[in-house]
Symmetry: C2
Subunit: 342 residues, 2 copies
Amino acid sequence: MTGERADQTQTVAQTSEEELLRQIFPLLPPGRATIVPPGDDAAVVAAPDGRFVVSTDVLVEDRHFRRRWSSGEDVGRRAAAQNLADVAAMGARPTALVVSLVTPADLPVEWVLGVARGLAAGCGPVGAAVVGGDLSSGPVVVVSVTVHGTLEGRAPVLRSGARAGDVLAYAGVRGRSAAGLALLEAGVVGPDDARTAGYLRPEPPLAAGPVAADAGATAMLDVSDGLLRDAARIARASDVAIDVRYGAFDADVAALQPAARDLTLIAQTDADAAGVASRTDALVRDWILAGGEDHGLLATFPEGAVPAPFVQVGRVTAGEGVTVDGLPPGGSATGWDHYGSR
Amino acid sequence: MTGERADQTQTVAQTSEEELLRQIFPLLPPGRATIVPPGDDAAVVAAPDGRFVVSTDVLVEDRHFRRRWSSGEDVGRRAAAQNLADVAAMGARPTALVVSLVTPADLPVEWVLGVARGLAAGCGPVGAAVVGGDLSSGPVVVVSVTVHGTLEGRAPVLRSGARAGDVLAYAGVRGRSAAGLALLEAGVVGPDDARTAGYLRPEPPLAAGPVAADAGATAMLDVSDGLLRDAARIARASDVAIDVRYGAFDADVAALQPAARDLTLIAQTDADAAGVASRTDALVRDWILAGGEDHGLLATFPEGAVPAPFVQVGRVTAGEGVTVDGLPPGGSATGWDHYGSR
């Protein structure tokens, strides 16, 4: 028991990089596309159709997560999820990740192993490997992941292919990450509350990416910065207008109402029932239209070609810009800027 | 002129992520292997022989560089160099990089653009592109680069293929990075002194990697942690012994003597001539055998197969471990541990 407790409290400064890597490697999934695994200067990964998809994302402590809310495993899962979603959004299947991890000297080794387990939990089910990494010390935790995928002969789905007459469709949940973060920030609940899971451990619909490509998706991206903001990116790249139908998100509205009501009651103890209801609805609407980091897939398809699990959530028309039920969105529904405020 | 000065002092907090990316993209080289360039959720890169090589490395401010010594361009060049060397060490040719950049809010935009220019300076000559990136704020600068390469049909050169009877060979300079860092740390010179260039802007012999593979190299790596430490990695992975011949580095010894002498004289003002000479020689020997981050290529070849620009620097024999001229190396010649001390 004493030895176990000692392991739990050992810090990265009390070990060596090589020893840490020795503990990390067995936790990582091997993956089907790995030709040369970690251990040399570089790994070698299969790219059967002569191309590979690549994207990178970084998570910074106190900017993208807080250690009092997110375990190492949570951060690993989130880093995997947001990167894997970028590959799916091209219509590709993930094959391999590499990870740079910066850690404060006093970070428990156990937290680092948690990151490895979280990455494995995200990658394993889709057959992707972690094929390389680098460790360094630094003042805060930084997890930088680069993800790779294979298009398996498909044409990549870009942001620029939407055409007037297409339908807008979405796969995945909306607003769960924003709601979970709001609950944690308000101190209403702790990270054990199930309603925070969408923020702490998002689960993008990864298999939907290749499905969309095979069904003829004309444009696609993963919604990391908010539905309206990311829809505007498709509109701009494709030179079209997009109208979002808010009623398409009824199931998300129902799921988010309890959290929104809790937060409204805390903020406005003296409000009347109508005020609470109105404020709750506004909060839910903001989470759904502007909340980031659910990492669902937003795509456009020719009329009649929307495949499950996508559901139609709007239309593509001639023109420019994004509207909601025909009206300018207004409010705070502009999404997330990593250098600005929410 | 006023507008120009304003641009020079603008910080990343005074701009948006999108505006910053708009300024960065034109600085980046397009590369010959890029199929889908930056701008979508992921890039698509060619992998003509159905495989790609991938490696990642991270540079952290005040751990791997100091901003008072390294310009943004220096850091970009160094990040490119150390990553490109990992690809070369597999016998591959670099094709594409992705970069995560974490920046303090008060970092000048000009410094960030410098990083982009430095990456371009490193990648451009070898035809590699920067195909993606992510920006975030954080307490210190962190540059995480993932590099990709193509083997062009070659078998990857691993660390594990050295055989007794092979010769040990090296391409590149030795000790320049360690000497440059020592000069800067001692305050002997500033970053404008030419003797610091090997630390601030290492130039690995990238073309030598594929040359080595074509010549039948049996093992190879890039020397990032010191010659003896990295030679020990080949010895361990290949289950052989390696003997380094110090006399093979005469040209490096001559090039490093002035810097070592300057540092010795500063540290030991009352030493006699013999003491200075002895200490100078020891310092040079330490830089050559244990200095990290020159990113030259250390490889093993069958007898008689060493191609230029490699030069023979030792022998592979049966047994285990690394010796110098037949003797245990001793001293501080153990190289760099990112979690330990030098």
